[in-house]
Each structure stands twice: as C-alpha cells, then as structure tokens.
C-alpha cells in the first residue's frame, strides 16, 4: 500500500510541486533588502566601527598618552608619544599615529583605555583610495562623518 502511495506521489510530481509552492510563496513575500545607499541601516549600539579618539565636555582631549592601547594592540597599529607640558597635571599625546590597514577591530585598545578616550564609532564606510588615507595622525583621530570620508578618500574622482 505504501509503495503504491509512493509511486503515485512520484508520478504526480508531488515533491516538485511542493518545491514550486515554496518559491512561489517567497516570490510574494516582503523582501528584507535595504536599498543602500538611499537607506543606511544604523549599526547596533555596540558596533565595532572605526576606533576614534574623543574629547571631554570642556573640549580637552581625554587621551593621556599612557600607551596602554599600544601595548595591548596585537597588530602594532599605534605609534604614540606623549609629553607633559609645564605645569600641567596630565600627559598629552604629541604624536598619535594609527594605521587602519593593520587594525583587526578586536577592541583591546577600547577595553584597556583608562579614560575611555578611544572608543568604537559607528563608522563602517572605511574604504580609502590612497595609503595616506589609511594613516591617521593625532588630529585625524577625531574625525567622523563627512570629514572622515574626506580624509579616507579625498581627491577621489568619484565622491560618495
């Protein structure tokens, strides 16, 4: 009896029709594609985008050039030099070279920073057109948004 059933199912192409029904249902379903670049999906709050330096409310840089990030980085992205100005309480960085091309976005620098100076940002558009665009000096480390894109691919023939 079961064999006759199996034969009939095979003869009437039941398995094929089931497959066709699945694709037809998907044909009419709502598509989850986000039309980039017209619409850009916001990354999650904890997203590990480009690491950026930050300033506090008064505009003073938070970085105290303790070089803990340099020590913890597994891929040698950092090259930091600090100096304590006369009469100042804290060290400040005078040189802060950071290489994007070496970063593995592991997050050790962010985790280890005692002042939360370096933090991940939601920047995920990280293409550059020149080597120099991937090297960030002290002032470049604060760039975000359009200014960051300008640094990364400034001078590019096709903007955006």
């Amino acid at each position: 009896m079961k064999r006759i059933g199996a034969f009939l199912k095979s003869f009437f192409l039941v398995d094929m029709v089931r497959g066709l029904a699945v694709t037809l249902r998907h044909y009419f379903s709502r598509k989850v594609t986000v039309p980039y670049p017209e619409k850009v999906q916001e990354p999650a709050p904890r997203f590990r985008g480009l690491p950026r330096l930050h300033r506090d409310e008064t505009g003073e840089p938070l970085c105290i050039a303790c070089k803990l990030c340099q020590k913890s980085c597994g891929t040698n992205c950092f090259d930091i030099e600090g100096r304590k100005a006369e009469g100042a309480k804290l060290m400040r960085p005078v040189k802060f070279d950071w290489k994007l091309e070496r970063c593995s976005f592991c997050g050790f620098c962010v985790e280890v920073c005692p002042t939360s100076a370096i933090r991940f940002s939601p920047e995920f558009r990280l293409t550059g057109v020149r080597r120099e665009g991937l090297l960030f000096h002290l002032d470049d480390m604060y760039l975000q948004g359009e200014a960051l894109q300008e640094h990364l691919c400034g001078g590019c023939r096709r903007q955006g």
């Binding site: 192409l13 094929m16 497959g19 066709l20 699945v22 694709t23 037809l24 998907h26 044909y27 379903s29 598509k31 989850v32 594609t33 039309p35």
Partner: protein
C-alpha cells in the same frame, strides 16, 4: 491594395516582425529571469538601470557588445564563427511557421499572421529547431579545447535523446486534431471545446519536461552550469558571439513556449472557447491571449530554474530512456486506442 504592397511590403514586414518578435521576447526574458529569480530568492534583482531594472538587458547587451572578441589560434575559424549563427537561425527559421492568430481582415485584404503555413507545419517546426544541434557541435569542436567539446557532446546527446518523447507527444496531438497544420490544431481545439492540455495531461507534462531538457534549462542544464567542472560549449566565446548563444537559448525557449501553447493550450483562443456565456472575452484579441499564455510558460521556465537542483548527466539520460520514452509510448498507444474506439 497594390500588388507591390501585397507581394513585397507585407512579406518583408512580416519577416521583420518574425525577427523582432523573438528578439523583443528575448529582451523581456533577460529581465524577467533575473528579476523573478531574485524575487523568489528573497532579494530584489536589478532595480537600478531604468524603472525596476527594465533597462538591464540593454546594459547587458551594451557590455557584451564592447567586449573583446577572442578567438584561439588553433580554433577552426569558419565553424567557430558560424555556430552562433546556426543556433540563432534555427530558432528564427522555425518562427516562420508559427502562427500568431487568425487572419485579420483589412478591407478586402486578409492579413495572415504567419509567414508560411504548411499542412505539416508541426513537423517542419520540430525539424528546424533541431538544426541548433549543429551549431552546438560546431561550437564545441571549433573551440579546440577539451572542456567545451565534452560539454557540446553532452548537450547534443541530451537534445537528441529528448527529441524522442517530444515527437511522440506531439504525435498524440496530431492524432486528436487529425492534422499536423498548426493553425488546424488550434482550430480543432476551438471546435472541440477543450484544450488538448486538459484532455491529455500526460502528453503535456512529458512534452513540457522534454522541452525544458531540449532548451538546456534547469533542472537539465548540467552542460552549461557554472559550478560544474565542464563549462559548456560556449566557454571560449566572448563578446557578441556569446551574446548570440545566450539570446539563441532564450529564443529557443520562446519557440518552445509557443509550441506548447499552440499544441496544448489553444493558441490564441480565449479560455473556454465553446462556452457561449464567455463570448465577451472575444473582445480581447487572440494575440493578447497568446502572449499571456506564452508569458505564463516563460515564467514557469524561470520558476523551475529558481527551485530545482540540477540533474547529473547520467540521471538525465536515464530519466529519458527509462521513464519518459516508455511513458510517451504508452500514452501514444492509449490515445490511439481511444481514437480508434471512437
């Protein structure tokens, strides 16, 4: 209607139409395939070039047009150049015999919607569409490379094997219609009131499966599948010649869909032609019904491609020789018996 118009302009116009019609359908198919497959897979497909991507085929054509035309040093030039033309020509020639509707009366002149009508039109169409086999073999051999040759041989074996159930099933239709003239077949379906696809569903299914296999489409597209080792007879072709093979495949699909519609689904007839109450449907010209039905089958082609895995070559051949041909034979005998008993 001067003799010049009737004897020269109108035939030339029909020839242009016969070349344009499959070409336009090919352009539509390129877009349809990419869009429909994409939507079935949960993505959007081409939607940048033109509204909803309708200019994508134009973009593809322009791109292929500008590609470099590469021919290997040892390739057989004549055969290499001829094979795309052969494959394309076989489909286009067959379209000469495919009717698109009942003759239209314009004043005193009857405009026939076909280039030629023959009492054995069915046979001629099938024969002409088989010429593509030559193009495939020439292309594979002339490429002077073992993978295209193997792909071409496989493709030829596949097409030739699947010709047999095709022939047997169209014979059943010819039996019922008592004629091999394509126009007669449609007229018989009108007078009998039921389309042959519903009278003989087995014939239709066997014909459809064989047709899909003959056009080298999924799930029978191993000879030209991208993810397999052997990349098919058109590997070594680039630029416009490749575009020709590509378009010829779609033109063949349109031809086969037209055949299916004419033989099994009443051609240009509206649904339920015998029922008087639905005569209001006659307002829509036959050509539109024809197009709607052809579009359904083209859509079915794409639907099948998006759904099914690929048959391996030996399973493919085993399928036709062990299952489809005996089934087609049995079906033929049953139809013959039923006709004899009537």
């Amino acid at each position: 209607m001067t003799p010049f118009v009737a004897d020269v302009l109108i035939p030339v116009g029909k020839i242009v139409a016969v070349i344009l019609y499959p070409m336009v359908m090919v352009v539509v198919m390129i877009w349809l395939e990419r869009r429909v497959v994409a939507l079935m897979q949960g993505r959007l497909g081409p939607n940048r070039v033109g509204f909803q991507g309708v200019l994508q085929p134009v973009a593809d054509a322009v791109k292929l047009f500008f590609k470099e035309d590469i021919i290997q040093r040892q390739a057989d030039r004549l055969l290499f150049n001829i094979s795309p033309l052969l494959v394309m020509a076989s489909s286009l020639l067959a379209f000469c015999f495919v009717p698109l509707g009942e003759p239209i009366r314009i004043g005193t002149y009857t405009l026939t919607l076909w280039i030629a009508e023959s009492p054995v039109g069915l046979l001629i169409v099938l024969g002409l569409s088989s010429i593509s086999v030559f193009g495939v073999i020439f292309g594979g051999w002339a490429s002077n490379s073992k993978y295209p040759l193997m792909g071409a041989l496989r493709s030829v074996v596949q097409v030739l094997s699947y010709e047999i159930p095709t022939g047997l099933t169209v014979l059943t239709v010819a039996f019922l219609a008592r004629s091999m003239d394509l126009v007669e077949i449609v007229r018989r379906q009108e007078s009998s009131g039921v389309w042959y696809g519903f009278l003989m569903p087995v014939s239709f299914i066997v014909f459809w499966i064989s047709a899909v296999a003959e056009t080298n489409r999924a799930p029978f597209d191993l000879p030209e599948a991208e993810s397999e080792l052997v990349a098919g007879y058109h590997t070594e072709y680039s630029g416009m010649k490749f575009a020709y093979f590509y378009m010829a495949e779609y033109a063949h699909m349109v031809l086969v869909s037209s055949l299916v519609v004419i033989l099994f689904f009443g051609g240009w007839l509206p649904p339920f032609p015998g029922v008087r109450a639905l005569d209001f449907l006659d307002v829509v010209p036959g050509f539109v019904w024809y197009l709607v039905k052809i579009m359904f089958f083209l859509y079915l082609y794409v639907w099948m491609r998006a759904t099914f895995p690929r048959y391996r070559f030996d399973s493919l051949i085993r399928l036709v020789w062990k299952w489809l041909i005996p089934l087609a034979f049995v079906n033929f005998l049953v139809v013959a018996l039923v006709r004899y008993l009537r």
